[in-house]
């Protein structure tokens, strides 16, 4: 059994100092960082990915063996490409000089190239394999970006971590459901742990995930989605049934 993944970091955020202290075991394959927009969720993912350096703190990925990605006191700062962490950013930034297939192959080691075809198939991107990114729709771009990060993460075995920043934002509901289902089953098959960010209650429930509730740069609660987001779920159901409108 792996040790808990421990994240403890503080950094300057545009709304002030961001503090994040959470230790969690990846008991479920998918952990969700849930919180309102602007609460610093993206900043946390970027710090884990090594795209920004926290002012203080410690980031440990508790796989066997545990990897210290950052420790201010001990002066450890592991470069992004050595962390075994893959990130799909909120804005789907595909390499404009590469086709969809080349984009997906970018993070896949030469010895595991069969993953590329599998990814194209799983994400229904086969017919777009040779297409350049500028010819894609927003949804196709988003799908390719998530597929690219996921393909790379699955080649890391269970020791990697996939970070997804609002991966389904901007997609229509049906496409989102398809993509989410495919992605969840594939990552579960390959034992790839995921930490994703969302402010969507429905999405968190759909993932059936462990949830870290986050607001104003702090962890408020952590646990199974049914327990942590029960109140949000009730509020959402109330709004859907018209109660929210009546209260307003």
């Amino acid at each position: 059994m792996s040790e808990p993944t421990h994240l403890s970091l503080t950094m300057q955020h545009r709304q002030g100092t961001l503090a994040f202290d959470a230790a969690f075991e990846l008991t479920r394959p998918w952990t969700v960082l849930f919180g309102p927009s602007g609460s610093g969720k993206t900043t946390v993912l970027r710090a884990i990915a090594g795209l920004m350096r926290p002012a203080t703190g410690r980031i440990v990925l508790g796989f066997a063996p545990a990897r210290v990605l950052f420790d201010r006191t001990e002066g450890i700062y592991m470069p992004a490409h050595r962390r075994g962490v893959r990130l799909a950013a909120q804005v789907a930034t595909l390499f404009p000089n590469m086709t969809v297939q080349e984009n997906i192959a970018y993070g896949v080691p030469p010895a595991a190239m069969e993953v590329v075809d599998e990814t194209l198939q799983r994400f229904h991107l086969e017919r777009l394999a040779e297409t350049m990114p500028w010819k894609l729709s927003g949804g196709e771009r988003q799908r390719t970006a998530v597929a690219r990060a996921a393909a790379s993460a699955t080649t890391l075995g269970g020791s990697g971590l996939l970070l997804l920043d609002e991966p389904f934002a901007g997609l229509d509901l049906r496409l989102r459901d398809d993509l989410l289902r495919d992605l969840r089953s594939w990552l579960a098959e390959t034992h790839t742990p995921v930490l994703s960010v969302t402010h969507d209650v429905g999405e968190a429930f759909q993932l059936g995930a462990e949830v870290i509730k986050f607001a104003d740069g702090r962890v408020l609660q952590q646990g199974p989605v049914e327990a942590v987001l029960a109140e949000e779920r009730e509020r959402l159901l109330d709004q859907l049934s018209g109660g929210g409108v009546r209260k307003a």
Binding site: F95, P96, Y106
Partner: protein
């Protein structure tokens, strides 16, 4: 037509361009990536030849390459003779004088690459070198070409620095622009006309290469 001067000019321009591309790439990347306290100072030094009269650059290089300075004495010990009034000396002078023409298009090109691309590559496990090689360089091919062409044509058209540093030795330091000056001094306008026309053709061809590239790389996402 002074073919000896033409050949020497082309050799000088090709050598200068090759050296500037090798040295200019890391320098431009360092400037564009915005790290390091001395960046503004280095940027100013790189751009200095743009604003200084060529004779000033030539004079200081002449002094620097001579036995009065430590670098000059070191070079004399390495080569066995002073680099002033030699082809090697011209090469050193051309590299310094054309430095901004090679570096500035590269800095602009690197600066135009969206940070999202380099972060996406890092987020997929690519090392900084791989990111530079596979993402940044392909996106800035147009800037690389502009840099090479400007360095080449600027060297072809050099006059002041070449005259100060190399003198006017046929076959050793006499370039086309100095040959043209000699021909005019001798009232040999027919020869001067041919030499001037050769310089115009080289420069025009180089500029056509740059402008014909503009927009052609967009299909592959190139930032021109």
């Amino acid at each position: 037509m002074d073919f000896e001067a033409l050949w020497l000019t082309l050799r000088l321009a090709a050598g200068t361009t090759a050296i500037l591309l090798v040295a200019g790439l890391p320098l431009a990347w360092w400037i564009a990536s915005g790290r390091g306290a001395g960046r503004a100072v280095v940027q100013a030094l790189v751009a200095l030849p743009l604003v200084l009269p060529p004779t000033v650059v030539g004079f200081y290089l002449l002094v620097m390459l001579g036995p009065l300075t430590a670098p000059g004495r070191l070079l004399i010990r390495l080569f066995g003779h002073s680099l002033a009034f030699s082809f090697s000396g011209l090469l050193v002078g051309s590299v310094i004088y054309s430095l901004p023409f090679a570096v500035q298009p590269l800095v602009a090109g690197f600066g135009s690459v969206d940070r999202g691309y380099t972060e996406a590559a890092a987020g997929l496990g690519a090392s900084p070198w791989r990111t530079f090689r596979t993402v940044v360089m392909p996106l800035t091919r147009g800037s690389l070409l502009t840099s090479a062409v400007l360095a080449f044509t600027h060297t072809v058209g050099e006059f002041g620095v070449v005259l100060m540093l190399g003198g006017n030795i046929p076959g050793a330091t006499q370039t086309l622009s100095i040959s043209l000056y000699d021909q005019v001094q001798d009232f040999n306008y027919a020869a001067a006309n041919r030499t001037a026309l050769a310089l115009v053709i080289i420069s025009l061809a180089a500029l056509i290469v740059i402008y014909s590239r503009r927009g052609s790389g967009l299909g592959r996402g190139e930032l021109v």
